[in-house]
């Protein structure tokens, strides 16, 4: 499946899509980028007169590139057979933050698969800024669900 196809299948849209490009994806991990537009909705309130990208948005960016894109790649055959994207949810995350990300900055997400078993995908994920400095890092897990109950 092409990188463009994977992005087109993502179940998100503006203002909650945080993937611009995928640089690399294989069975072991994904690398992709996103630039936070200065007009992003969250800068208005986080913080008052001092816009900084919220940690939850950085975490979401890590999850969309590092887990959901990777998950689509890993389940490509099943998705093409069923012509339908399985429902995926985040089930855990533990992230440490090191640097702020300001409006207009481009970031790169690098994920590395720990396991994908019984429908659960767990990855070690890093987010780096344009200077290649570490912004945040940690473990995120997501799960494919067959109904809405976890």
């Amino acid at each position: 499946m092409t990188h463009e196809k994977i992005i087109s299948l993502l179940p998100y849209s503006e203002p909650f899509l945080f993937v611009d490009h995928l640089e690399h994806i294989d069975e072991n991990g994904a690398i992709g980028t996103y630039t936070y537009p200065e007009s992003s909705f969250f800068y208005k309130g986080h913080f008052i007169d001092n816009p900084v990208t919220p940690g939850v948005i950085l975490t979401e960016t890590m999850a969309q590139i590092g887990l959901v894109c990777l998950g689509i790649h890993l389940m490509a055959n099943r998705i093409e057979e069923q012509a339908k994207l399985p429902e995926m949810v985040m089930v855990s995350n533990e992230i440490n933050f090191f640097l702020p990300v300001f409006p207009g900055e481009e970031v790169k997400v690098i994920s590395s698969k720990e396991y994908f078993r019984f429908g659960k995908l767990k990855c070690e994920v890093e987010l780096r800024n344009a200077d290649d400095a570490l912004v945040c890092k940690g473990k995120i897990a997501g799960m494919v669900i067959s109904n809405s109950s976890l």
Binding site: V91, S92, Y115, R117, F118, G119, K120, A141, M143, I145, L150
Partner: protein, 88 residues
């Protein structure tokens, strides 16, 4: 040679593995073979996967997707572990 393990030894092992993930301490303290991981111990399906992976490591077995669906109670989990041990 019988490679299966004593039921109580397996239960002790399962309790140690499940402990970090349980959300109902009382059900855990009163755990029996009938205890259901989800309904009684209130473990979510994501943590159930962690438990299965720990069971694989502890008992040196490999669980298939279909088998995991049956591992909802302590009793059925003991049965699958012993079936796997016996077939090793």
């Amino acid at each position: 040679m019988d490679k299966t393990m004593d039921k109580n030894t397996i239960i002790e092992g399962l309790k140690e593995i499940a402990k970090p993930y349980i959300q109902d301490q009382e059900a855990f303290d009163n755990l029996t073979e009938d205890t259901n991981f989800v309904d009684d111990l209130k473990i979510n399906s994501a943590n159930l996967v962690d438990i299965i992976l720990d069971v694989e490591d502890k008992f040196d077995i490999v669980i298939e997707d279909k088998e995991m669906e049956d591992m909802m109670t302590v009793r059925s989990t003991i049965a699958i572990i012993n079936k796997k041990l016996d077939n090793k």
